[in-house]
């Protein structure tokens, strides 16, 4: 039993946290050499074995396809990772867990080789933009984006542009080029609920239409075409209609294939600036 939670205990806790962090840093230093050696288990077979291990051991929390599970709280592992940016970082998260979260350390008797195969699989889900060769030209795409394509009237990039579509400043980080192309040619295929449209007759009898910025069990929040933000209690609205389609038109046929390729190249280049090492 632990007794008392006064200030001395808090200071002690803070000191211990600092101590643990310091120890972790020291512990990490020699292991960094393993990163230099690279992952020795990264063949196609290793990736497959890692996938099987993932489906069995990790999918309950992270989703069967590693795209996350909001109920279990396991994050999406197919894009940018929260707690690791290198293979060694991924390995450490699996081996040590993430303190204070449901991500527990893996059982101590699981061999390193299995963990590195798992690392290889997770790494295979990430995109190395350097390895991708694109047909389009990103500079021409940037001109199209703000010019004839008229994308910027709805989409913001790095603070410039409209509010009627998703901010695309980092769109290249979590989307493959083919996904970006599909988003332009078939925008209704996959629409995030944030961009569904709702039509609401409020308690004042006025019909308002806008993007579904937030909906919960008892309330709704929208942004209308004039960019006004409205909040409604569901118990007070007179009518409610939800349209699970995109407001974005398809660009298929409106732009040439090469222009679409240029836009893909531009959007794929939109990612967080990588600071020099």
């Amino acid at each position: 039993m632990t007794k008392g939670t006064g200030y001395p205990t808090q200071w002690l806790t803070a000191f211990l946290v600092v101590l643990v962090l310091a120890c972790s840093a020291i512990k990490l230093l020699p292991v960094v050499h393993a990163e230099d050696a690279g992952n020795l288990y990264n063949t196609a077979v290793d990736v497959l074995l890692g996938k099987r291990y993932f489906e069995r051991q990790c999918s309950r929390c992270h989703g069967f396809d590693a795209t996350g599970n909001d109920e279990a709280g396991g994050p999406n592992l197919t894009g940018r990772l929260r707690n690791a940016s290198t293979n060694l970082g991924i390995y450490n998260v699996i081996r040590d867990g993430v303190e204070g979260t449901a991500m527990l350390p893996v059982a101590t008797d699981v061999p390193d080789a299995t963990l590195w195969q798992l690392v290889a699989y997770i790494d295979s889900l990430r995109y190395d933009p350097e390895s991708v060769t694109l047909d389009g030209d990103a500079i021409r795409g940037a001109d199209l984006f703000t010019g004839r394509g008229d994308c910027a009237s709805c989409h913001m990039v790095n603070g410039s542009g409209g509010r009627m579509g998703p901010d695309l400043s980092r769109i290249g980080e979590e989307n493959a080029p083919e996904d970006l192309m599909l988003a332009m040619t078939s925008p209704h295929d996959e629409v995030a609920p944030r961009w569904w449209t709702v039509r609401i007759t409020g308690p004042d009898g006025n019909l308002r239409e806008g993007f579904r910025m937030g909906e919960d069990s008892f309330a709704l929040r929208i942004m209308d075409k004039e960019e006004n933000l409205w909040s409604f209690r569901k118990s007070q609205i007179q009518s409610y209609e939800r349209i699970e389609e995109s407001t974005m038109p398809s660009y298929e046929g409106k732009l040439s294939d090469s222009e679409l390729d240029d836009l893909v190249a531009y959007m794929f280049s939109l990612r967080r600036e990588v600071l020099p090492k």
Binding site: M1, R56, C61, A107, D216, S217
Partner: protein, 545 residues
């Protein structure tokens, strides 16, 4: 003279202070008296207390308290909040005994607080190994009490006894080896002079059981496996040696009928969850309710909801026991909304199926056999290597979260989910302590495309009387009161009250994080309170003093 007046005033003030202090002291430390078995049997007669996980042995979660009612529930205000110091998902259902509340915390700790203020008396922190084998988060759902002792399951598959007055550890026994995949999350159930408790680990190839322990010593009194061994009836419903690793965990609290002297307990999925090829047969008694003798633990009857389950449709729901007039006779029945999407009314004397209907979207079965209650399966709905879409999804049409029943309306209330998921099958070999699930599932639409709802079901017809839609995948339990209320929560962090008769919304408050627990209601010094865990915080509400 001035001195005399000053002295007189100060004496008067001191007297007032003493009087206030003594009154305050009396009010704030109500006498905690030991909880006898007779008090547990008659728990509904002391509605100021919440003496067990489901409130009463029949698990109705119906409170006779009516100070908070349909007319004033919209005036509820927050009285206090207790912040759980470990950041995790709180699934705790506290107990309240004579003004003291016992709250469990992740991973396996318990704290005693003043039920009027939320301020701490003591806490117990359970020491555990790091390399736990747990399927679904570090959860603990509550304690049981008998005498002056609390009993708690722990994630490392132990059962501990804790002194309710001090938090001192009285005994600590291993129920099963955690490194083989066993764990424990549910509140035990007191039955007479025994602590009855189940086991988790259905995703690790365990063999499920229900145990009874001596509350004084922690000695095992009996163990009833819910997968029959060789030579026992039902063992041949498992091909080969698959019974050894067949799962059928017992990871939620059961109910008890003192007149029939029967313990009712739900059992979990057969393992591996999604690949039935390695465990051909009905896989008894997975996905069932078992009725055990209250003294010996011997099996008296069973009803299997989902024979040879391949969708992870655990029957880990809490049996609600009511007496229902059928053809002029009061029949002791059991009400059960199952994870598989069907609602059942069973005769709890012998497990006979009485009625059943879907209460949520179901595509794996087209209905229930009107005589046996067995599901009539739709062919080709078993998981495949490529994936196949089935409703309910893995999380189920409902799950472990407590349903409720109102003695005033005669309705059964359940948190339900209309969803669908792609189910996959995989080939896996059993390895001790490793996951053994044989596949998994995947949603193909954004979660917001689906719906949850609170549904009120008439147990005499299995028909839905009303529903109140909420955002998807709600996992909150339900409590009903004589104030005509249904209290529950939502996945998007609301705590709310509905009219038990009509389902109309009466009050809600946004608590900001998922409600993943069931509410309780109790009273101290004549004032009724309602408590719910949301996110990482336990909130208590009441009317203006």
């Amino acid at each position: 003279m001035k001195k005399l007046i000053a002295m007189g005033l100060s004496l008067y003030c001191a007297g007032l202070l003493t009087a206030q202090e003594s009154e305050l002291t009396t009010v704030m430390t109500p006498a905690f008296t030991p909880i006898s078995w007779d008090r547990l049997v008659a728990a509904r007669e002391e509605p100021e207390n919440w003496l067990m996980y489901s409130g009463t042995l029949d698990s109705q979660r119906y409170s006779p308290l009516d100070q908070i009612n349909t007319k004033n529930v919209d005036q509820l205000e927050m009285k206090w909040a207790y912040q759980i110091p470990v950041i995790d998902r709180a699934e705790t259902v506290p107990l309240v005994v004579d003004g003291i509340m016992f709250i469990t915390e992740a991973p396996s700790n318990v704290v005693a607080v003043d039920a009027r203020t939320g301020r701490q008396y003591w806490r117990y922190d359970h020491e555990m190994p790091d390399d736990l084998r747990i399927c679904c988060g570090r959860n603990n759902r509550g304690v049981a009490i008998l005498g002056e002792t609390l009993f708690m399951s722990t994630l490392d598959a132990h059962l501990v006894a804790i002194d309710a007055r001090t938090g001192n550890l009285l005994w600590d026994v291993e129920v099963a080896p955690y490194d083989s995949g066993y764990s424990k999350t549910a509140a035990p159930l007191i039955v007479k002079d025994k602590v009855v408790t189940g086991i988790a680990g259905g995703e690790f190839g365990i063999r499920g059981f229900i145990d009874a322990y001596d509350p004084a010593t922690g000695e095992l009194e009996w163990r009833q496996y819910v997968i029959p061994g060789p030579g026992e009836f039902g063992n041949d419903t498992w091909s080969g040696e698959s019974w050894r690793t067949g799962g059928a965990s017992t990871w939620i609290t059961g109910s008890y009928d003192p007149e029939l002297n029967q313990i009712y307990w739900g059992t979990g999925n057969p393992g591996p969850d999604w690949n039935g090829d390695v465990r051909l047969g009905d896989n008894l008694y997975s996905d069932s309710v078992v009725a055990l003798n209250g003294d010996s633990g011997e099996l008296e009857w069973y009803f299997q909801f989902t024979p040879h389950d391949v969708h992870d449709y655990d029957s880990i729901q809490i049996p609600i026991l009511v007496d229902l007039p059928i053809d002029g006779e009061e029949v002791p029945v059991m009400l059960w909304a199952n994870r598989n999407g069907f609602f059942y009314t069973l005769d709890r004397r012998d497990g006979k199926f009485l009625f059943g209907k879907p209460f949520a979207t179901v595509t794996w079965a087209e209905g229930l056999d009107p005589v046996s209650g067995a599901p009539i399966r739709v062919p080709g709905m078993a998981p495949t290597y490529e994936g196949i879409m089935v409703s309910p999804p893995i999380v189920g049409a409902t799950n472990w979260y407590s349903p409720g029943y109102s003695q005033d309306t005669g309705l059964f209330y359940v948190t339900s989910f209309d969803g669908e998921q792609e189910f996959f099958k995989r080939d896996e070999d059993y390895e001790e302590g490793e996951r053994y699930t044989g596949g998994g599932g995947r949603y193909t639409q954004p979660m917001d495309a689906y719906y949850s709802a609170i549904r009120a079901i008439d147990p005499a017809s299995a028909e839905i009387q009303w529903e109140f839609p909420i955002m998807p995948r709600s996992s909150s339990g339900i409590t009903t009161t004589a104030g005509g209320l249904v209290f529950t929560g939502s996945a998007d962090g609301y705590f709310f009250a509905l009219d038990a008769e009509s389902g109309n919304e009466l009050w809600n408050i946004s608590l900001g994080r998922r409600v993943h627990a069931a509410p309780i209601t109790y009273a101290v010094d004549g004032q009724q309170f309602v408590t719910i865990a949301s996110g990482n915080v336990v909130y208590t509400f009441g009317l203006d003093d």
